[in-house]
């Protein structure tokens, strides 16, 4: 790849995650993948600048989690040694503060996770930012192929391991999910040495969220097989039925050519054979 004459401005929005088992604060998995993507891009494109932004309340617990992100930069030479903390009271909506910060800083590439691991976790933040800032948004990013002349070529992850190539003019907001490359380990020393730079930011309380009832998720009821049968006989048959079978077509007593022909026809009908 040709090194870029001018680097790109990147901002990675990070949040405080929640360990699924111990419920302790940690770096959020998707955000860490986003930072991994940014660090990789920064090492490929010379002269890139990378900033970490978090909007939320400051506490010992969240600070420890946020330092996990800073520890990822370590000795990668990206010069990432501080995190911009937009301090918010607890229960505040981070969108207003982030919009203001991003509009002022004007990065070319904003990377976020898809969903937060705490709070509402609705996954609306990247969409709200895109709508307010008027920038295009691409979800489910898997890789950044190249950035040339202000046009980024990206790979978007589709289900079943498929990828789609997209081209978009910067600035752009991208969100990453579990399809992005896994995050590297966090080094403790650089994490301790890095700085959290607090910046004043406007705060808007989320009154709607305060009115809702939050409860630990309860197990969703398993869907029952509903048998709509008119008679007892049908109900009994449905209850006693073994797994469906015997409906398949069996080809016996033919040579390999004909057998292969039948399989090929099915593969073609299903459309799994590549051209």
């Amino acid at each position: 790849m040709q090194p870029e004459p001018q680097g790109i401005e990147m901002a990675v929005l990070v949040s405080v995650g929640r360990h699924p088992l111990t419920e302790r604060a940690r770096r959020a998995d998707q955000d860490a993948r986003g930072l991994e993507l940014a660090l990789d891009l920064a090492s490929r494109v010379a002269g890139s600048r990378l900033r970490l932004v978090h909007a939320g309340p400051r506490s010992d617990e969240s600070e420890r989690a946020l330092r996990d992100y800073l520890g990822m930069a370590g000795d990668s030479g990206s010069g990432l040694d501080s995190l911009t903390l937009l301090e918010q009271p607890s229960g505040a909506d981070a969108i207003t503060a982030l919009v203001e910060h991003l509009a002022a800083a004007a990065p070319q590439l904003v990377i976020t996770g898809t969903r937060a691991e705490r709070g509402e976790g609705s996954g609306l933040l990247p969409y709200a930012l895109a709508e307010r800032l008027g920038w295009p948004l691409i979800n489910g990013l898997a890789a950044v192929e190249r950035i040339e002349d202000g046009v980024a070529t990206l790979l978007q992850a589709l289900p079943r391991g498929q990828r789609r190539r997209l081209q978009v003019r910067l600035p752009v907001i991208v969100s990453v999910d579990a399809a992005a490359p896994a995050a590297r380990q966090s080094a403790y020393g650089p994490a301790r040495r890095a700085a959290l730079a607090s910046e004043p930011a406007p705060a808007a309380l989320d009154r709607e969220l305060a009115e809702w009832q939050l409860a630990p998720a309860r197990k969703r009821p398993k869907r029952l097989k509903i048998v709509k049968a008119a008679s007892a006989r049908d109900r009994f048959k449905a209850a006693a039925a073994k797994a469906e079978g015997g409906s398949g077509q069996v080809i016996e007593g033919v040579d390999a050519e004909q057998g292969a022909e039948a399989i090929l026809k099915l593969l073609r009908d299903e459309g799994v054979l590549s051209r």
Binding site: A116, Y127, I251
Partner: protein, 425 residues
């Protein structure tokens, strides 16, 4: 004269005598055909029954009596199922009081089970009040291949088949949905919270309309205090929270949020917008899908798997076949234990549970653990020497024969076909 019942003693005698050669025809004549041969009206107006004529000889040679009214096992069951299909109540909503808009993800042109659940949820919202009935409008992007949209509970179909909506075109789709909002102003918007379809489009729509949507909805209940009359339960914070809140206008629902429609058939009449959709400036250009290396795709999410077992002798040919077919490789436990395949390629309860659309099992007899692992595969193709094995029973297409020969023939055919295409091009 005709009022006087006439008796035919000979026919009565034949009807009593089960061994008489004319027994069944006489019974049929006496019974008048309608109630069958086992029951008929006697000469004095008394119902006569012949218990011997009831039932049929079952597969084990024993007489079975079926009191459900449906005789002769399997056939009748299939007929009953057909009848149930035919007996769906037809519903037409001519002048709806409000609209419920649904945007199904329509994977491959067909309604997925998630879409059907969502339409079931839409019907619950539309039909809750018998005084004020709502209509379900389905906004479909791209050509659909569904034969009976009405059976899923759709009253109106609003298709957008323009090429501009194909592929990843969130901006064009958003412009179309905004036009629908302006013209039809539905009371509810429902989208599936699935990565490919509604999760992206629904959030964009909500932000464009300035609404705060409910995401990950899995349950709704009526609630008079809420603005729209409904309360919903939604998942939040990485599936660890249940959020109870009033149902907003836009809801993104999870799979199994409601029962799919089963008892009614709706009109599914096509409608169109009177004003044309303003063309949106697209800043994102879709360059199409990228060919991915099938060997690099995780087994659990591979679309097409070629799986080998004990019946495979030539593993070089097997790997070559997987490469030619463009399939991800899998293996049964025996093949892994014998060292022919890596452990991470093992399919089954002790290995990976796969979700392939097409699963091609070569030389696998189908241990129960293996069959569990392929439960959610759509189409299973089996190649095996033993016609009685369990894999053949599970398979949608089974070919009895030597695995190596059939695989070689398949590879030859695919290569020949590719060669022809190259020559033509």
């Amino acid at each position: 004269m005709s009022e006087i019942p006439r008796r035919d003693p000979r026919r009565e005698w034949v009807a009593r005598n089960r061994l008489h050669p004319e027994h069944s025809s006489v019974l049929a004549a006496l019974g008048g055909g309608l109630s069958g041969t086992s029951e008929w009206l006697g000469p004095h107006g008394v119902t006569r029954k012949n218990p011997h004529a009831l039932g049929f000889i079952g597969p084990s040679g024993l007489k079975r009596i079926d009191r459900s009214g449906a005789q002769q096992g399997g056939q009748a069951l299939a007929q009953a199922r057909q009848a149930a299909q035919a007996s769906r109540r037809a519903v037409t909503i001519a002048a709806p009081d409000f609209l419920v808009a649904v945007v199904p993800e329509l994977t491959g042109g067909r309604l997925s089970s998630h879409d059907r659940d969502l339409l079931g949820l839409a019907r619950r919202l539309a039909d809750a009040d018998p005084e004020r009935s709502g209509a379900v409008v389905a906004v479909l992007f791209g050509e659909h291949r569904e034969a009976a949209l009405g059976d899923a509970g759709i009253d109106r179909v609003l298709p957008f088949t323009d090429a501009a909506y194909a592929g990843f075109a969130p901006e064009a789709r958003l412009a179309a949905l905004a036009a629908v909002e302006r013209e039809l102003a539905p009371r509810h918007w429902l989208l599936p919270d699935s990565p490919l379809g509604g999760a992206d489009l629904g959030r964009r729509l909500a932000m464009r309309l300035g609404e705060r949507p409910a995401t990950g909805v899995w349950q709704i209940e009526s609630d008079a205090a809420a603005p729209l009359g409904w309360r919903c339960t939604a998942r939040g914070a990485a599936e660890s929270l249940d959020i109870q809140r009033p149902l907003p206008r836009i809801a993104l629902a999870l799979a199994e949020c409601a029962e799919p429609v089963g008892a009614t058939r709706h009109a599914a009449e096509p409608v169109s917008l009177s004003a044309s959709v303003p063309s949106a400036l697209s800043r994102i250009e879709d360059l199409g899908q990228v060919a991915v290396d099938p060997a690099g795709v995780a087994l659990a999410e591979a679309e097409f798997i070629l799986s080998g077992g004990n019946g495979v002798r030539d593993w070089q040919a097997f790997h070559h076949a997987a490469q030619v077919l463009g399939a991800t490789e899998g293996a049964s436990r025996v093949a892994v234990d014998d060292g022919f395949m890596a452990r991470d390629r093992q399919v089954g309860a002790t290995g990976t549970w796969v979700t392939a659309r097409v699963y091609l099992a070569v030389g696998i007899s189908g241990a129960i653990q293996h069959l569990q692992g392929i439960q959610s595969c759509d189409k299973v193709v089996a190649v095996n020497l033993d016609p009685g094995c369990d894999m053949i029973k599970r398979a949608d297409l089974a070919v009895i024969g030597d695995a190596g020969e059939i695989l070689a023939a398949l590879v030859a055919k695919v290569e020949q076909q590719r060669g022809e295409q190259r020559d033509a091009a």
